[in-house]
Structure formats: C-alpha cells, structure tokens
Amino acid sequence: MLMALAACGPRNASAPAGHDEANSVYFWKTVFHPDDSELEFIEKHDVRRIYLRMFDVTADRYARDPDFRAIPNASVRFDGFDLGQLADKEFVPVVYVTLDALRAMEGSEATLAANIVRRVRNMCSFNGVPDVGELQLDCDWTLSTEESFFSLCRSVRRSLADLGLDWRLSSTIRLHQLARKAPPVDCGVLMVYNTGSFDDPSASNSIISLDDVEPYLRHLPSYPLHLDIAYPTYSWQLLFNRRGFVGLLKGVEVTDTTRFASSGSNSYTALADVDFNGRTICRGDIIRNETSDFKTIDSIKSMIEEKLPCGPHSNILYHLDSDNLSNYTDDEIARLFSTAR
C-alpha cells in the first residue's frame, strides 16, 4: 500500500465522470480516411478513444462582419469513409484555435464559442461521428491571451448547454502552460511534443527532448486539473539555409553520402543542389532529422508518471499515421499506452 502511494504523486485531480482511462490517438490530417494498417493498429492496440481535429480557427483580417473576424479553416473531410467501422470508439472532436483568431475575437469570445460549438455539433451529426461526449480546444495561449482563452472556455460550456449537449470540455495543455492557472475545463491533455523550437537551427530535436521537458515537470504534482498525456510518434525533417528555417520535409535520403555529409548528430549538409519533390535543396543547406525516439519518450514518460497525481489517466499517441507508427514495435506501442506504475 505504502509502496503504491510512493510510486506516484499526490491525488488531487480526478477524471471527470465518463472520462475513462483508454488508449487513445490523435488524428490530425485533413481527410479522415484511416488505411487498413491504421485500422489494424486501432484494433490491435485497443485504441478506444480518437481525438479528431475538426477544423482550425484562423483570423480573417478582411472580414466585414465583426462576428467573422475568426473563421473555420481546413475542416476535416471524410470522403466517404464509413465511420460505422469505428462505431465502438469514442470520438473527441478537437478544434485548434490560433492565437491570431483569439486576439481577433477578444471581447467576443461568446460569439466565437457559439460558432465553434454549433459547427462541431453539425459536423459530428452530418458525418455520423459516433459516441461524442467531449469537445477539446487546442490553443497555444500565453500570458497575454490567457484571459481571452479562459473566457472562450467558459463560453463554450454555456454554448454546449444552450444546445443541450452534455459534452465535457477539455483543453490541451502545453508544457509552458503548466506554470499558469489551469483553464476552466473538465480535464486536459498534456502535450509532450513540440517541446523545442523547430525553427531554431541550434536545437537538436524540437519534437521531444528530455532537457526541454524536465524543467516544467515540477508543476505537475500540484496541477489542479486531471491530465491525460500525449506523446509524439512522428518524425520530420527540417530544412535550414543561411537565413534560417525554410520548411518541413519528409523522405529526403540524407544518408546518401554522395549528396549529403553528416554535420552533427542528426544534421546533414547538402553537398550539391538536390532536386526533391519539385524543389531544390541548395548546396550548403542543412537538413535536421527529427524523430520521436522511443527511449527518449519512455524516459520522459517515466518522469511524468512519477510526478503525475495518482488515479487513472490515459496516454495518447500523436498521431495516427501508419508510416510513423511503423517505426515502433508492438511492445513499444504497448509500453507507451501503458499507465501501470
């Protein structure tokens, strides 16, 4: 008994009713059409909750109607996918709110909330998204936008009630947000990815790094909100030239020594101009390979679980993509989902 208590932090934030511990994944593409291997992954690993990005909210600087200074963008499409195949899964619609949109609607958060809730409700209804009991807001709010975001959360709750929806409201929590007040939501998801600056040429890995994560974890034991934890399973390549960050790439064969020379632990310098997918990687440009290394994730996961308040929580993989997930063994995936402490 004492051993068990010592193995995890204080018990001070329990999961809201109906929010059970469940293996979960984020789905962050613009077309929801999981391929066979992704469906197989869901079944094999008993994924029971899918966080589905519905749309982004972006600012429209040219809007004449003040209510439309923030508008939906990049809505997810289903393109004929039969959601009946996932009828036994719980879906959590997620809306990503950009800071520009939040600033554009400052003072009119209630309008924005009503728009978001009604649209998510309609998208779920129209597309037959099964078993929806929660709405999640994703926003990189900072000190200057904290009050506006919190106001948005409160308004979303009211809008849910106005439409007769008994959904929970959750929010993503970035590491730096752990040091601030918790938003007025039922529960949160701690994002343990994008921990560094991807446009910083001197960073070693912007996806996940022990050094980047560790300083924030001291806030975890006293955080007053039930948290689930999202870990990355993606990789990308970052292209830099002399002026700095150029863009994201995927699939460049940086190990081809006739074209690239290693210039750091995960950096490669182009030896000549390289044509890639219609663009040119110029001689001297640097590509940084960034991956979500299992060992790193596992170490961080252990640290988090030591500090996480007791009680059930869920682990979530970001995100459901067969290419990325194929980099992990079944055991590794099982370990990432595991919440045993």
Binding site: D60, F68, I71, P72, S75, N115, R118, R119, R121, N122, M123, S125, F126
Partner: protein, 669 residues
C-alpha cells in the same frame, strides 16, 4: 484589371492632378472636376435585387394601402429582422410611426404578418448558410429538415390564398438554398404554371430555377431563363447583350447593363447594330433609350456628331425608360448643339439645366459637372476661335459661378488673355441686353471695378499708360484695397529698382508684404513721365536717365513686380502662379491650350527672354547716351556697377562717395 466605368474618370485625373500640384508654388490650386457621365452610369450598377425590391415594395403598397410610404414598407419588409417584425406587427402596446405596421395591426391582417414572419425565418436560415461557420446538420438539406419541410408545407397549404405566389417563391428559395435543384425546378414549374409571366414572384422564382439549371450543367437553358427574367449579369455566354436584345429587350436591367459598360469602346460599337434593330422592334416600348445610345456612340466612339445630332432628335421624340435617361439625352443634345454651333435652344436648355443644378439631392453635383462640361468642353472651344468673346466669357462666367473663387476661374483667365482694347469692346457687348445675356448675367460676379481694373492692367502690359491711368482712375479705392494682390503684398515692391535677372526663378522672388493699393496708378504715371522726359528732357543726361528708368520699370513690371501687369503668366498648359486659373481637365492636359487659344501667352511666346533682351538693349543704349561722367557714374551707381564707377569715373563726386562710404570698395576691383 478593368475598372468600372464610373471610376475611370477619377483615375485618369490623378496624373494631371499631381502634375498640376507639382508646378504650383501657392494657391489657389487647380480645380479638378471629374468628367461627368452623359450616358454611362455615374453610380454603381444597380443589382438585380434592387430592381426587384422597388417593384415588390410597389406590390406591397397595392396589396395593403397606397397611402403607406415606400420607406415604411421597405423598413418592415426588408430591414427589420424576424423578432422586431414579430413584435411590431402584433403588439399594440409598441408605438410606431411606421404605417405598414400600423396597417397590419389595425386591419388585423394576419395573413400578411404570418407570411412575412415565415419569410424572415427563411431568410435567417439562408443567412446562416452564407456564414463561413455554416455546416449542414444533416444530409437531408442545407436547412434544418424540419424547417424546410415546414416552409414547403406552409407554401402548399397557401396555394389558394392571395399570397400564394409569395409562398411559392419562399418554397422555391428554400429548395434552392437546400441544394435540391431538381426538386426546385419541378416545384417552380408546377407552382407557377397558372400564374402570369409578368408576375414578379414568378420572375424571381424563375431566376432561382435558372440558377438550379446552371448548377445542373444546363447552361443554355439557364441563360435563356436568366435573359427572360432580366438577370443579364448571370448569363454565362460571352455576348449577354445580344441574348437580351433577342429575348427580353425591354428589361430595364438590360439598359442598366449597357450603361454600366458604356466606357468600353468595343462593346459600345458592337451595340450599334443591336440598338438600330431595337428601334424597329415592336417589343421595345422605350425607343428613346436606343436612339440615345446610337447618338452617344456616333459622337463619342465613331466621330460623327452630325449623325449623332439627328439621332438625339429622334430619341427626344420617343419614350424613355426613365426620366433620368431623358434628362441625360437632353443634356447630351446641348453638347451636340455646341459642336454644330446651333444656339437656337441654348437659352431654353440652360434654363432647364438650371433646374437640375439647383435641385437638391445626390445628383446635384453631377449635374453641375455636366453643366460646366457642356460650357467648358463644347461651347467655349466653339465660340472663342470665332471671336465671340462676349458670349464665351458670359457662358464661362456662368459655369464658373459654381465655384467661390473669383480670380482662379476660366472666365477671368479668358478676359486676361485679351488686349485692353478688345476687352473694353467685349465688355460693351456683354452689357447688351438679350434674353441669353440677361439670363447669364444673373450669375456673373464681374462688375465695373473688375472690368476697369482688368482693362487697366492689360493696358499696363501693353505699355499703354494713358489708357491704364484712365481706367484705374475709375476703380474704387475699396476695390483696390480688397484685391488679393494688394492684401498679400504683391504690389509693395519698388518697380524702379534694378533687380538681378530671375529667369526661370521668378516664382521664388520674395514679396515685400507691404500693401500698396495705388501702386499700379503710381507706376503708370511715373512711366508716362519717363516716356515724356525721354523725348523732351532738358539735357541729354536727363533724357538718358529717363530712358534708363523706363527700361528698369518696364522690365520690372513684367518680372520682379509682375503683379503690375498680369494676373497669370501661364501658357494655358501649365497652371502657375498665385492667380492660376482653375482649369478643368476634361480629356487631357493640353485641352485648354488647344481649344481655348489664349491670346496672351507670356511663357509660350518666350515673353521672359524677350523682356530681358529688350531690357539689356535699352540699358546699354541709355548708358551710351549719357554725356557727362558724373551722370554716367550716377547711372552705374543706380545699376550697382560700383567697380565701373571707380575704374572709369574715379574723379566724379559719385566715385568719391563710393570710396568714402564703402571701406572695402577695393575688393570689388
């Protein structure tokens, strides 16, 4: 990018505006008058919905009471939202001055109130669908299924009511908004089968049906329906005007469309055969519109003003689709009359035009521009070269009367470009009584003081000092004191002091700031004295000194002290100087130079160079004619040639004065 017609004149003015401001040292600034429209729309094209709105309001008047103002109906039917309408139409305790609402309440006309509440409900749903946040709730329809069904059921249940056509239109709109295009076409066909084609609701519904066909890929059929309903801007084929002329030539939207494209030369030329055909088309009630179009194209784009004149006469004998077009046609006839030199109806036309320029309202400014355009662009270029200065100036002053500026006007510039004798003669002609002149004189700002002072100034320019004195003596002191050139100190400088040449730099010369209302008269008298002295002076030296002073005074009166002899130094192309006239840029920068032909053209004629050359010649001749060394020394002292005095006339009293008064005179050597 092609600009809408009504923007183009403004844009074309911009280079001229900047060019003009670039040359201006000070005000008054050149007045820029956007070229007015005579056939093209001088406002944005009216959308289809506005045509329908006006007609619908008239229908509501007919269905309720003709005593209800259109504005009240517009407020209730188009502006108020569902909740406001509901409350105002049903609750007696809400006070309102709106007669439409009062009609609904006093007559308890629930049928109309219920219909409008339902229509506003549908509009609310349609507005939601246009929102960027809109996402349908179900696959059944874009509208909430129960909402759409309710609207359709309601429409069917009112098929026998007096509002059956209105309910049918609502159902059509609902089906269209829901994206149920096939159903929408079927419903429209059946619901309106027994309703006359002229019915507004049917025409509006057919537009939705046409939109359905367009979305279903039936473009040809859709175009035909759009043409039949007047929705010319929705026609997909490349020549919508031709289709409209064949299927629905009498639609008011057709002429609106043509006028919206009236600055497009190719389009307008392509309309000529169509217009010609339509003037023989029995379906076309308002043939005046199309004769007017032909007159406009003939004159503006084909260059045949004679044929245009015949066409405009034909147009004015026919019916027009609007009073506005008839008025424009009459104004355009004034331009064509000017081109033909036909002043037979000028007075009547001006009297009529004044009713337009005096009428308060949003169009007043454009009518003033039209009036000024007809006079500046058409009449003046016709009258001025013929030497009919009196009529030209009277007309011009009439057009100028729309500005508050007295000197910065074209009529003042025109008078200032005549000789003093011609202006005096012209003034006598302008004083004659005739119906036209009496009409124009009412607006003329010029009185005796203006004419006398200006004739005197022209005489000074001509070195006719006796005439200048004679006219200046007639000018009142109060007028001389009130003149801008006096108040701003342009007359305060000594005209008999030699100044350094200021070729190409005259604008920058500083003025004294001293007021001298009698400066012109004093100058004229002194110049007259010097002129007499030149021939009748007592000694050779006296005559030589008079010649020198006359040369200095003459040159200064054109240059350093230019305000003595002129109000403007422009050449008709460039507006320069403080009294630059307010030229209007109708067509291009050189319009006034080419068309007004000012007689006095100081800059273009090389006046500045000629003045300096004459000055040099006269000064040298005067210096050569002095007899005594002391007189020569005094002349050089006057001219500032101290070095010459000391070097050549060192023993004279003037040389001794120079040496004793100036410690560092040696430095001049």
């Amino acid at each position: 990018m092609k600009l809408p017609g009504f923007f183009r004149p403004l844009v074309s003015l911009l280079p001229a505006a900047f060019a003009a401001f670039g040359t201006m040292a000070c005000g008054p600034f050149v007045e820029l008058i956007p070229t007015p429209e005579f056939f093209a729309l001088s406002r944005p094209e009216k959308p289809m919905a506005d045509f329908e709105r006006e007609e619908n309001i008239r229908l509501w008047q007919a269905q309720t009471s003709e005593q209800i103002p259109a504005a009240d109906i517009e407020q209730a039917v188009y502006c108020d939202g569902r909740a406001v309408f509901y409350a105002r139409s049903l609750f007696d305790d809400l006070t309102t001055d709106n007669l439409f609402y009062r009609y609904l309440r006093t007559t308890s006309d629930r049928e109309i109130a219920d219909f409008l509440i339902a229509a506003k409900e549908l509009e609310g749903l349609r507005a939601n669908m246009r929102s960027p946040w809109y996402y349908p709730e179900s696959h059944d329809s874009g509208l909430a299924p129960d909402g759409l069904d309710r609207i359709l059921d309601r429409s069917r249940s009112h098929s026998d009511s007096r509002l059956a056509d209105r309910y049918a239109l609502q159902a059509t709109r609902a089906l269209f908004a829901a994206g149920r295009y096939g159903e929408c076409i079927e419903f429209c066909d059946s619901a309106f089968a027994d309703i006359d084609d002229s019915n507004l609701m049917k025409r509006m519904a057919l537009r939705y049906a046409a939109g359905c066909r367009s979305r279903l890929g039936e473009t040809l059929r859709a175009d035909t329906m759009f043409a039949l309903t007047g929705d010319v801007n929705s026609i997909a084929r490349h020549d919508p005007a031709k289709l409209m002329s064949e299927l629905n030539p009498g639609a008011p939207q057709f002429m609106e469309y043509v006028r919206a494209h009236a600055s497009d030369r190719d389009f307008m030329r392509s309309m000529m055969p169509i217009a010609r055909r339509l003037t023989d088309d029995r379906r076309v009630a308002h043939k005046g519109d199309w004769h007017f179009l032909m007159a406009y194209v003939d004159n503006k784009f084909i260059g045949n003003p004679a044929r245009a004149r015949s066409e405009i006469d034909l147009a004015l004998q026919q019916s027009f689709s609007s009073a506005e077009l008839r008025d424009l046609a009459r104004a355009y006839r004034m331009k064509l009359d000017a081109a033909a030199g036909n002043a037979d109806s000028l007075l009547d036309d001006l009297r009529w035009l004044e009713t337009m320029t005096d009428a308060p309202g949003p169009d007043r400014g454009e009518w003033i521009r039209r009036c000024r355009n007809i006079i500046y662009e058409d009449w003046i270029p016709r009258l001025w070269p013929r030497g009919d200065y009196a009529t030209a100036i009277m007309l011009c002053a009439y057009a100028d009367s729309f500005t508050s500026d007295l000197y910065g006007t074209l009529s003042f510039q025109m008078m200032g470009s005549l000789t003093s004798e011609r202006l005096a003669t012209t003034r006598d002609l302008m004083d004659r009584h005739s119906p036209l002149f009496d009409f124009l004189r009412r607006k003329s700002p010029y009185g005796n003081d203006h004419f006398n002072e200006l004739i005197a100034t022209l005489a000074l320019r001509e070195e006719n000092y006796p005439r200048a004195i004679a006219y200046l003596q007639k000018v009142s002191d109060s007028y001389l004191e009130s003149m801008k050139i006096n108040r701003d100190g342009y007359l305060g400088r000594d005209p008999f002091r030699p100044y350094r040449p200021r070729i190409n730099d005259w604008q920058a010369s500083p003025h004294s700031g001293r007021q001298a209302p009698d400066a012109k008269l004093k100058f004229a008298r002194r110049m007259l004295d010097y002129k007499r002295e030149m021939s009748s002076g007592r000694t050779t030296d006296d005559r030589a000194m008079a010649r020198l002073m006359y040369a200095i005074g003459r040159r200064n009166s054109f240059e350093e002290c230019w305000a003595l002899t002129q109000y403007w130094r422009g050449d008709g192309r460039a507006a320069v100087g403080i009294f630059a006239p307010a030229l209007d840029y109708w067509c291009d920068d050189d319009f006034s130079a080419r068309n007004y032909g000012f007689l006095y053209d100081y800059l273009s004629a090389g006046g500045m160079e000629a003045t300096e050359e004459l000055y040099r010649r006269e000064v040298n001749a005067a210096l050569a004619s002095f007899a005594s060394p002391e007189a020569k020394a005094r002349a050089h002292y006057l001219l500032g040639n101290l070095k010459t005095i000391v070097k050549h006339y060192g023993n004279t009293p003037t040389a001794r004065h120079v040496k004793s008064s100036c410690d560092n005179w040696e430095s001049w050597l």
